[in-house]
């Protein structure tokens, strides 16, 4: 049985510290985030001075959904000493390895994810401004929303989807893989060159995704080595008897809002269909790792993939079949588990984009990143008569993802937006109202001094005259405005809140 698809995105950003001889990305990332937090905490900056730390007590990223931990797998490590903050919009903002990372709060539909993703960009832009204020004039921090440095190093934009624990994992793997391989035609952020080991960088002048070159396995626990198309991290951040969280590491970070919208909206529908066993078991791609790269390298969209029943089909043709199933799913089961009315906007846009990919791909500039980027790269190459391996094209690629408003190429391209900029600005401070992020964010805004720690599924309060009190939040769709707005509005103190929560 499908459960409501609670969603979120975690984005690792590329970071450059200009003007220093030996930049250290870890300290640069810490400086970036601390500068932002200090600005929030400054007098007169409004509510929310979140100096609340992340609580690691329930984190177990090395637990594998398959019920064992392979001996040769390298379990992800948690670095607890680095800056790690919770924001009043319910997001987590932290240093992950050598990158600044922002995890959106839990969202109830794809449009809400787009809003939070846009808010995340705004937070990073403001962080750069704040950091550059305290740096010497000849230094600067620059943040990139991309997934590769062009030299074989990749960093992720991970998606998260809440699923029913009872769904057989093998079924998830099969259908999620088919979708991940073929959805690249609209989720790809585009890349100049390739980074597959033992290939020359410019063997492939331009490809659809940033990430496909980095995947070597079909299923596994890794995120940094031998990356798998389906990641098995089993850490639901919710009631583990009812839920699993599918942690998707295969996608690109998108600049186009339409691409983000379709990426999470279509995937939420696919996963709900998996839960209802509503997908054709024959709709599976043979040798998905190779197919992932083949689709990414095929900008003409003509390559066919071998399917489990012996047929051959293009990625776009497979997407048409998944879309048809999604329409049937909505007819049969309604939209309740997949984002309500937003789900219908997803399937409509999905259809429009697939049609355009077949008839007039260039018309998707401003909606689909790889097409948007390729148009500029091709135009620039033609104008200046450059060879396809000219590094200025790779520079153009990087600068597409530059988040500085005066330098960003993407910002100049007039891309279509789905959310209002003022709403996104508000979402940098205010949580979504329809998930437990509401409780987390509102509490942080109201009582920052009385919250000792917070994480996805609990908060720890400092209650007068008592030891610390942990409030569990194991249901992602509880703690919404509907459930707790009145309670939060009418409680004067944390002590009163805890007392009333207990009754």
């Amino acid at each position: 049985m499908a459960v409501p698809k609670t969603l979120g995105i975690e984005t690792e950003f590329g970071i450059v510290h200009r003007g220093v001889d030996e930049p250290n990305p870890i300290s640069a990332s810490s400086l970036l985030i601390n500068a932002y937090l200090s600005r929030l905490a400054a007098p007169g900056s409004g509510p929310g001075a979140p100096r609340v730390g992340w609580d690691f007590v329930d984190e177990s990223p090395s637990v594998d959904v398959r019920g064992f931990t392979p001996l040769d797998a390298m379990a992800p490590e948690i670095e607890t000493h680095l800056v790690n903050a919770v924001l009043t919009n319910g997001a987590r903002y932290y240093v992950d390895h050598a990158h600044p990372e922002l995890s959106t709060p839990e969202c109830a539909d794809a449009l809400s994810v787009v809003l939070q993703d846009r808010a995340a960009e705004m937070i990073l832009v403001e962080s750069m401004e704040a950091a550059n204020e305290v740096l010497p004039d000849d230094q600067e921090l620059v943040v990139y929303k991309n997934n590769s440095d062009g030299k074989g190093n990749s960093y992720g934009c991970h998606e998260n989807y809440l699923m029913d624990r009872s769904t057989p994992f093998g079924r998830i793997v099969q259908h999620a893989t088919t979708h991940f391989v073929t959805r690249q035609v609209f989720t790809g952020a585009g890349k100049v060159g390739c980074e597959l080991p033992f290939r020359n960088r410019f063997d492939v002048p331009f490809q659809i995704t940033q990430r496909a070159d980095f995947f070597e396995e079909e299923v596994g626990l890794e995120t940094t080595l031998k990356r798998p198309i389906v990641n098995t991290r089993d850490e639901p951040h919710a009631d583990p008897l009812r839920y699993r969280r599918l942690h998707v590491i295969v996608g690109d970070a998108n600049m186009c809002e339409v691409a983000t919208f379709l990426k999470v909206g279509s995937t939420a529908l696919v996963l709900a269909m998996v839960e209802e066993d509503a997908l054709d078991p024959n709709l599976a791609v043979v040798d998905p790792v190779r197919a992932l790269q083949a689709v990414s390298w095929d900008v003409e969209l003509g390559a066919t993939l071998e399917l489990a029943d012996g047929r051959r089909a293009t990625a776009v043709e497979v997407q048409w079949e998944i879309l048809a199933a999604a329409r049937r799913y909505l007819d049969d089961h309604g939209d309740e588990m997949v984002g309500g009315p937003v789900a219908h906007q997803v399937v409509q846009r999905w259809e429009d984009v697939l049609s355009a990919l077949e008839s007039d791909p260039e018309s998707l500039a401003g909606q689909v990143d790889w097409i948007t980027k390729r148009r500029v790269v091709d135009g620039f190459r033609d104008r200046h008569g450059l060879a396809h391996d000219d590094l200025r094209l790779a520079a153009l690629d990087l600068q597409y993802h530059d988040l500085r408003p005066d330098r960003s190429l993407f910002a100049r391209l007039g891309a279509e937006t789905l959310v209002d900029a003022d709403d996104a600005r508000r979402a940098t401070a205010e949580p979504p109202e329809d998930t437990r992020a509401y409780f987390r964010g509102r509490c942080l805004a109201r009582w920052p001094d009385r919250i000792v720690a917070a994480n996805w599924d609990s908060m720890v309060f400092d209650v007068a005259g008592e030891s610390l009190r942990r409030v569990p939040m194991m249901e992602p769709r509880r703690g919404t405005a509907e459930h707790v707005a009145t309670l939060l509005d009418t409680c004067e103190t944390v002590d009163e809140l805890i007392e009333r929560l207990a009754t």
Binding site: G14, S154, Y155, G156, T223, A395, Q399, G414, T417, A421
Partner: protein
């Protein structure tokens, strides 16, 4: 929703917004092709100005180790 989808990123000036509105109504593939080409030319002019000076050095020095 439809109204929102028509809205474009407000990166430019008001006059650009007007242009976008006219564009949305413009029929005909040739016309559209020419418009796209003009748009791209304007854009490439801008890019010539904002592209990192010393682009090659920039690409070589952009190294990001230790992700995920």
């Amino acid at each position: 929703m439809a109204e929102q989808e028509q809205r474009r990123r407000d990166a430019g000036t008001d006059s650009e917004d007007v242009e976008v509105a006219e564009v949305a109504a413009a029929p005909g593939a040739t016309e559209r092709g020419e418009r796209l080409k003009d748009e791209l030319d304007d854009l490439l002019d801008e890019i010539d100005e904002v592209l990192e000076t010393n682009a090659e050095e920039f690409v070589k020095s952009y190294i990001q180790k230790g992700g995920e």
